[in-house]
Amino acid sequence: MTMPPRLRKVVLTAHVTTSVGWLGAILAYLAVDITAVTSQDTATVRGAYAAMEVIVVSAIIPLALASVLIGVVNALGTPWGLLRHYWVLAKLLLTVFAAVVLLIETQTVTDLAATAASSADPRGLPGTLPHSIGGLVLLLIAVILSVFKPQGATRYGWRKQNELRRDKRAQRSAPMA
C-alpha cells in the first residue's frame, strides 16, 4: 500500500523534521548534561539538572515518539517497506531501542532534577553522559543509513519483489478484453 506522491512528501517532511529535531534536542541535552557534571557553581548545576528534565520531557520524548511513529508510517507507505531492506530494518531497530532506553532513563533524569532542587549542594550528583552520548551515536548512525541507503534486501524483501514481478508478468500476458 503506497501513498500518493503528495502525501508521501508530507509524511517524509514530518519524519525528517522530527528525526533531526530529536538529534538536535539530544545535542542540547548533552550540552546541559556536561554543564551539570563540570560546573562548580551550585546555582548553575541546579539549573542544569532542571533544564535536563525539561528538555527530556518537553522535547526529546515527544520528538522521539513522533519520529518512530512517523518513520513506520513513512516506510509502510513507500516501496521501501518496513522489513524489505536491511538499512530500513536497522534504522527501525536503532530508533526503537533508543526510544525504549530513553523512556526508562526519564525516571533517572526526573529523580536527579528533584534531588538537585532539594539538595544544599548538588555538585556531587552524577550526569547521564553515557546515555546521552550513546543516544547521539545511535541517531547519527540512523542519519548515515538514511543518507547512504546501503544495498541489501531481506529474505522477506526478495520474496515480495518476486511476487511483484510475477504479478506484473501475469498482467502483461493476460488477454486484453
Binding site: 526508562i104 534531588t115 532539594s118 544544599a120 549542594d121 556531587g124 541489501g152
Partner: protein, 69 residues
Amino acid sequence: MPRWVKVSAIVVGVVILLVVILKLTGLGGNHGPGRHSGAGRPAMVSGVDLLVSPGGDQHGQRAGESSYR
C-alpha cells in the same frame, strides 16, 4: 546477506556480550533507573540541616559528594 549487515551484527553481538560480562562481574557498577534514588543515595542535606546539625559542624563533607564521584 550483505557484508555491512554481517559486520554490524558482529559489532552489536560483541557490545551485548561486553555488557553482559560487565553486568555479571559487577565491573560496570550499579545500573538502572533507580540507581540514583532509594537506599544507595546519600541523605540529602538542606541548608537548615547543616545549621542545626549536632556539633554545628559546617566544614564536613558536602551533601551527596563522595558516593557519586
